[in-house]
Symmetry: C2
Subunit: 154 residues, 2 copies
Amino acid sequence: MSDDVDLKPELCNCLAVRQAARHVSQFYDQCLAPAGLRTTQFSILAKLKRRGPMTINALAREMVMDRTTLGRNIQPLQREGLVAAVTGSTDRRSKELHLTAAGAARLAAAIKGWAKAQARFEAVFGAERSRELRAMMRAVSASELADDLAAAAR
Amino acid sequence: MSDDVDLKPELCNCLAVRQAARHVSQFYDQCLAPAGLRTTQFSILAKLKRRGPMTINALAREMVMDRTTLGRNIQPLQREGLVAAVTGSTDRRSKELHLTAAGAARLAAAIKGWAKAQARFEAVFGAERSRELRAMMRAVSASELADDLAAAAR
DNA sequence: TTGACAAACGTGTATATGCGCTTATATAGG
DNA sequence: CCTATATAAGCGCATATACACGTTTGTCAA
C-alpha cells in the first residue's frame, strides 16, 4: 500500500456536507436577496417568530451554532432594527432576543423568496427525497460525535 | 390560514444542510487541529495531492466553491509554504496551484486525524448510511438549482 | 494589426464561523 | 455574609464565504 489511508476526497463525509451546504446556501441566498436577507438571517428571524423571545445561548443551541457566532450574526439584524436585545428580567447576564415589528415585516416579505427556493429545490430533488435529506441532516446535527474525543482526552 | 406559508424552520432544506455542515465541520476541525489544519485546508491539500497541479478556477469548480473564496483560502497555505502558486506556462492569466513537499508532509501528518474523524462518524452514523449521505450530498452539490432563476429573470 | 469580446485572477466589502480569553452576574457552601 | 464556582455574554483573532468591480491576458474576426 502506498499510503496509510488511500486519499479519496469523495469518501469524506465532512467535505460532502460542506460542499452541499455551499451550493444550497448560494441558491437560497439568491432567492432571498430581493428581500435584503441572507439565509442565516432569515433562519434567525423565523426561529424568533415561531418560538418567541430567546436568549443567545438558547437560540444558538437550536441553530446548532456557536454562541459567539450567533452573537455576531445578530449584529446586522440589530443595526437594521429587525431584532432587539434586552437584558433578561430574572437573569441580568442573559440577553433576550426579540423579533421587532420591522423584523416580522421583513420576514413576511422574505417568505416569498424562501418558498420559491424551497419549491425549486423540491422540484429538482423530489419531495420525498427532500424529506429523507432533512431527516438525515437532523440526525447528523443531533449526533454526538465529540463524545469520544472527550473520553480519549481523559 | 394565518400566513402565506406556515413558517416551520424544520422544513427548510437549506437550514438542515447548513446546521449539519456546522456540526460536522466542528468535529473534523477538532480532529485535524493537532496537525495544524482546518477541514477546508485539508480538503484542498488532498485534492492537489490526488489530482496534481490545478488552476484556481478548476479547483474552485471541483470544490463547489466560489473562485474568490478559494483564492483567499489558499493564502494561509501559501504563507506556510504548503502550496505554491505559479503563473501558468501557456496562459499567463492563470495560476497553477502546486502541493509542495512541506504540504505533502503536513497532509500525511493530518491523515491520522481525518481517519479518526471519519471512523467516529461512521461508527455513530453507520457505514451504509454514510454512503447514502455522501451520495445524497453529491447529488445536491451537482444539482442545477439556479437554472430556473436565470430563466425567470428573462 | 487592431479592436471587441471573453476568460483568469485580484481587491473591497460584508457576513459567517468558532476558539481562547475576559467580564459580569448568579448560585451554592461555609 | 462571603467566597468558590458556574454560567451568560463580549472581544480579539483567524479563517471561510461570496458578490461587485477592476485589471491583465488571451482569442478571434474585421
